[in-house]
Symmetry: C2
Subunit: 237 residues, 2 copies
DNA sequence: AGAGCTATTTGATGCGGGTCAATCCGAAAT
DNA sequence: ATTTCGGATTGACCCGCATCAAATAGCTCT
C-alpha cells in the first residue's frame, strides 16, 4: 500500500533528477560556521537514517530538510520541516531517533559531539534554536491531534508564507495582500507532514481553489489572494 | 535471533531517556535545586496559561505536569506529559506558547530568566533535558499523525509501564510478567493526549479488556498480564 | 443507606477522511 | 507532435472514529 509507494519513490533515480531540477538551489547565502565542517547534499539525500549511530549535530545553512519517522508497515510521518538556522541530530543517547532527508539541495554545518561538548557558546546557540523548534512541534502536535483536513492544509499554507512565522494574517503587513507561496514539497510529502493521505490533500487543495481562497498553475506555486480569509480556516483564530 | 534483535532495541537509549521513570509519585524525593526558588502546587493548578508573559523556566521536582494547547472552539490537545526532571516554560518570545497544569500535586523549581542567562551549567542541564523531551515529542507526532486508536492506547500504556522507557516488553525482565500501571489521568485527559474522544478511549480500553490484554478494577489502575502481547499492538514493532 | 453529583461506559447513527481505481496532466524523450 | 511515465486529480465506496444520547458506576455528603 502506502509502503509500496514510498519504496518505489525511494529507489527511483529519475525522481531524484526531476526533483533536483525542480528545486533550484537558493541564491547561495554564503553563511559559514567557523570551526565546523560544511557539507553539501543534493535534494532527497538521506542525511541521517533512523537508528543510525548519532555521530554529529547539524545546522541548516541553506535549503530545507525534513525529519521523519517510519512505522514497520511503511506509514510515514514527517515530524519537522527545517529551514535555515534549524538544527537536527540532537538525539538523546547514541542512536538517531528520526531520519533526516534533504528536501532541497542543502548546505549543512556539521558539529562533532566532541566539539559540542567543548564549546559552551555553540551549545547555547543550539539550545536557543531547539527552543524555537520545540514551539513549532507543539503547534504541530495540536494540528495532528485536533485539526480537520481543511484546517491542516490552511495552517500549512499560512506557515509557508514567506517572511512570516505562521501568523501572516496578523501584524503590520496587509492581510489582504496577494501572496505567492512556494511549497517545495510533493503532495505525498505534504500528506505525510499533515497526517493525511495524498488524495485528501489533493481534494482539499481543489476545494480551496474552487472557493477562490487559493489559485495555482504549477501545483507547487500557490497564490493566496487574501491571507485573512485563508487564515480564518486554520482553526486558530 | 529474535533475542539479538530485542537486545539491540533494548540498548536504544532514546526511549529510556525520554520516558524512563516519569510519572511515579516517588515518596518525596527531597530533591532541591540550589539557587532556585521552589514552589508547590495542588493537582489541577494552572501553572502557566497560554499567552502569559514568559516569566520563568520550571523544572519538575516531584509529581506530574501536562502541557496543552486550546483552539478557540474548545478543542484541547495535551502536548507533553512531564515527569520528574522535565522542564517547561521555555518559549521563544516573551509569551508562553503552551499552558502548563499540575496533573498531581507537584513540587517545582523556578528559574528566573536572569538566572538562566547567568548560569551556563543550568542552561546545559535544561538543554540536555530538552533533547530528551524533543525525542518524546517526535514519537508523539508519529502517534498523532499515523496511528490507529488501538495503537495509540497500546502505545500510551506501554509508555507508562513503571521503570521502563516505553519498551518494556523487551530486555532482561520477562515481557510476560504481570505489570501494574497507574494512569493518574482521567479518560478525558487521555483522550486529549492521544488526539481521540473520550468515548473512543473508553471503548478501546473495553476492547482490550475483553481481549484479556488488560484488566482493571479502579479505572486508573491497569494490570497488564503480558507486556509482549500489548506491545505488539503499538504498531511500532 | 440513600440522594445527587460527575465520570465512565455503552449504544445508535453519521460523517470525514481513508482506500481502491480510473483518468488527467506536465515534463522529458523521441 | 507524439509517446511515455510519474505525479496529481477525481470518483465511488467504505470504515473508523466522532457525535449524540442514554445507562451505569463511583464519589461525596447527609
Amino acid at each position: 500500500m502506502e509502503a509500496a509507494r514510498n519504496e518505489a519513490r525511494f529507489n527511483n533515480a529519475k525522481y531524484d533528477a526531476a526533483w533536483a531540477i525542480r528545486f533550484r538551489p537558493e541564491p547561495e547565502a554564503a553563511r559559514t560556521r567557523p570551526g565546523a565542517h560544511h557539507v553539501r547534499y543534493a535534494a532527497r539525500h538521506l542525511v541521517i537514517d533512523e537508528g543510525d549511530a548519532a555521530r554529529a549535530v547539524y545546522e541548516v545553512l541553506d535549503g530545507g530538510v525534513i525529519l521523519f519517522k517510519l512505522l514497520p508497515d511503511g506509514r510515514r510521518q514527517i515530524i519537522e520541516l527545517l529551514g535555515v538556522g534549524d538544527v537536527f541530530g540532537l538525539a538523546v543517547g547514541p542512536v538517531a531517533d528520526v531520519a533526516a532527508e534533504a528536501l532541497t539541495p542543502v548546505r549543512l554545518a556539521v558539529f562533532e559531539p566532541a566539539a559540542v561538548d567543548a564549546d559552551p557558546a555553540l551549545r547555547d546557540r543550539l539550545f536557543a534554536r531547539l527552543r524555537a523548534q520545540m514551539c513549532a512541534l507543539h503547534d504541530h502536535a495540536l494540528l495532528l491531534g485536533r485539526k480537520s483536513a481543511q484546517e491542516r492544509v490552511a495552517t500549512y499554507l499560512m506557515r509557508l508564507v514567506p517572511g512570516r512565522g505562521g501568523l501572516a494574517c496578523i501584524g503590520a503587513a496587509p492581510g489582504n495582500a496577494e501572496v505567492r507561496i512556494e511549497l517545495r514539497m510533493s503532495r505525498q510529502e505534504i500528506a505525510d507532514y499533515l497526517g493525511l493521505t495524498i488524495e485528501t490533500v489533493s481534494r482539499t487543495f481543489s476545494a480551496l481553489r474552487r472557493a477562490n481562497l487559493i489559485s495555482y498553475r504549477k501545483q507547487d506555486e500557490v497564490v493566496v489572494p487574501n491571507l485573512c480569509r485563508l487564515c480564518r480556516l486554520t482553526g486558530a483564530h
